[in-house]
Amino acid sequence: MNSEPAIEVEDLVKVYGDRRVLKGISFQVWKNEVFGLLGENGAGKTTTLEIIEGLRTATSGSTRVLGMDSQNDLDRIKDRIGVQLQSSAYFEHLTLEEILDLFRSFYGKGLEPHELLSMVGMEDFRRMRVSQLSGGLKQRFSIVAALVNDPEVVFLDEPTTGLDPVARRNLWELVRSIKEQGKTVILTSHYLEEVEALCERVAIIKEGEILALDTVASLVLRQENPVRLDFLPGQELSGEVLSRLSSLGTLKESHGKAGEYVLFLKDLVALKAALRELEPLELNRIAVSTANLEDVFVRLTGSRMTGEEEGLAWRVV
């Protein structure tokens, strides 16, 4: 991986009144990387992005983009970045083509409207207004509009929020193709599977602090109990069995599915021991997997994500 940083954030603090929104965040985004900021609403993701983009000023700390300071060199930075804002709209009375043409005129260089629209298969919509597009196409257009100046760094703030799963996966393809063009992408999300699918590295943010920052694989493997065993017993388990299973790892009751348990285990030895315990029991379902980002997230933040990821939610027994 290229070790040259595209974005450097150092000890970023943001205070609104007596509310500390960012409590000293530091991270770096490497060139041509897809970097994710994962956290719940209000964790400080958008504030972080907007300080880097120069839309807000930091209380203290510094941010640099492509080696230039966000405060002092903002005009030069703006030429080389593309920004998709969270739930932002575009001129409602202009066509897609006209909007792109107008935004293109703000930059010294860039791509023509038809190039951009054909890049994402939206050529047929060029005479339409944004309001005539579906939610997925709207988001797609808003990302394409961020590419109008052929930027080196692309900021995507919750690019798939509110979209259906198919539209979301379509946008993932778009994000991957942006990376393939050699651009750097920093995105925020509260969808774990999105971050898992797209990001090389992820920072987990809670209440203005970074709790963990690494590749998704390392975050999972670095866990104490990275092996996950899901099972659904046919009858109620006795207290004795439950306490023996608990002693092997971390036992939790599944939140989403009634009667189902999740057992986190250290290694294969522990897994075999657990399976022996379960052998005499009647089981309706059993699954063995590696712990995922959700598990990491819950362990770190002590809370579940907003329940939108079906089957990934559970609570501590």
């Binding site: 839309l55 970045i81 920004v83 804002l85 709209a89 107008l102 935004f103 703000f106």
Partner: protein
């Protein structure tokens, strides 16, 4: 280059925003059409329909009828012969006056005596009744004076004492002088109708409404939808964008003026006597002033809906207190001294003075100054309070 693109895009946006366009074009035009039709209904100097019932039918009553008809003050109808029937028609608003001319009781020995005339008026028409009564009053005096002159002429035709002759001819001159109508002129240089006056007010109202309401809603909507914030992420200086927008709105104000003039002057015959360049200057200055007022309102409106409410809350009082529908000077003194400093009032007053009454432009400098002060203050407040994004 950038500015031209922004300008063209803004013009397109404004043109395609049909609701805003309605308020800019159709709304003031509705008023023009309304007042235009109203003014066409009443021809100048005509007091309405008069039922003439000639019960005398002699030489003098025929002359009287001719005189009333020549004056052109009434539209005369002779369809009625029965006074009661005519009065009933008057109550039903089919006619405005009933005039009954009868042979005088004092008539004697075949000699023609001026007939008795009775005017019946409708209590609903208080505004024109006094005018009609004084018209017939004057007419009657003229007839008596004419009759006296005829008698003097008869005497002067006789062989009389030279001293008596001098007395009679002096008396005749005095009577003739008395018969001369008083010389009457409108106060201003040009004949100005109520519609002319209202039309100028409506031009200014249209400019104000569109600039305040249209621009405030447009800006608040762009901020609400984070379009302005999105623009801040581009290298374009946001002031350049605002400049393009303001230019587009000013062009639209002139397009609006063009439509208003076409309909008001072209179709309904409103008159602009002088100072076309001054009218354009006032529209330009007014558009700038009210655009900056829209900008200031948008600074305090969180949403487009709020901006719409605030803009109407300001524009409607300004419309009434600016003297769109009546000359402000009729207001009581202290009240007038306050109201004439509001932003719309000097624009309308200056335009009426120069374009209708033909006053010199130099006399309007105080009014232009009031507008300039408003422009500077409002624009400065707008720049101080307007936020393009949340922070």
């Amino acid at each position: 280059m950038k500015l031209i693109k922004i300008f063209i895009a803004s013009v397109k946006m404004v043109y395609r925003d049909k609701i805003a366009l309605f308020w800019a074009m159709a709304f003031p035009l509705m008023f023009v059409a309304l007042f235009g039709l109203f003014s066409m209904g009443m021809t100048a100097n005509n007091l309405g329909k008069l039922a003439y019932i000639d019960a005398a039918a002699d030489e003098l009553s025929a002359q009287l009828k001719q005189a009333v008809s020549d004056a052109g003050v009434f539209t005369i109808t002779e369809n009625y012969t029965d006074p009661d029937e005519a009065k009933k028609a008057m109550r039903n608003n089919r006619i405005s006056f009933v005039l009954v001319v009868e042979k005088s009781q004092t008539s004697e020995g075949g000699k023609t005596v001026f007939p008795t005339i009775t005017l019946y008026t409708d209590v609903k028409n208080q505004n024109i009744n006094a005018a009609a009564v004084s018209f017939f009053d004057g007419l009657k005096r003229q007839f008596y004076a004419a009759a006296m002159i005829a008698q003097i002429d008869y005497v002067l035709g006789l062989d009389i004492d030279p001293q008596a002759r001098r007395f009679y001819s002096d008396f005749r001159k005095t009577l003739q002088n008395a018969m001369q109508p008083i010389s009457h002129q409108e106060g201003g240089k040009n004949p100005v109708t109520y519609f002319d006056m209202v039309f100028v007010g409506l031009i200014c109202m249209g400019i104000m409404n569109y600039a305040v309401t249209g621009f405030a809603i447009h800006l608040a909507a762009m901020r609400e939808q984070k379009i302005l914030k999105r623009l801040l992420t581009t290298p374009l200086p946001i002031r350049r964008f605002m400049l393009g927008e303001i230019l587009a709105y000013i062009v639209l104000a002139f397009a609006q003026l063009g439509v208003m003039l076409t309909v008001g002057v072209g179709m309904f015959g409103a008159r602009i006597y002088a100072g076309w360049w001054f009218l354009f200057l006032l529209v330009f200055l007014g558009a700038l002033l009210f655009l900056s007022l829209g900008f200031l309102l948008a600074a305090f409106a969180r949403t487009a809906n709020a901006a719409s409410g605030m803009a109407n809350g300001i524009a409607i009082p300004l419309m009434f207190l600016g003297g769109v529908f009546f000359p402000l000077e009729v207001l009581p003194g202290p009240f007038y001294q306050v109201v004439r400093f509001l932003p719309l009032a000097p624009m309308i007053q200056a335009m009426r003075s120069v374009c209708l009454e033909g006053d010199p432009v130099s006399a309007q400098l105080p009014r232009l100054l009031i507008m300039l002060v408003w422009l500077v203050v409002v624009a400065a407040l707008g720049l101080a309070f307007f936020r393009f994004s949340e922070e």
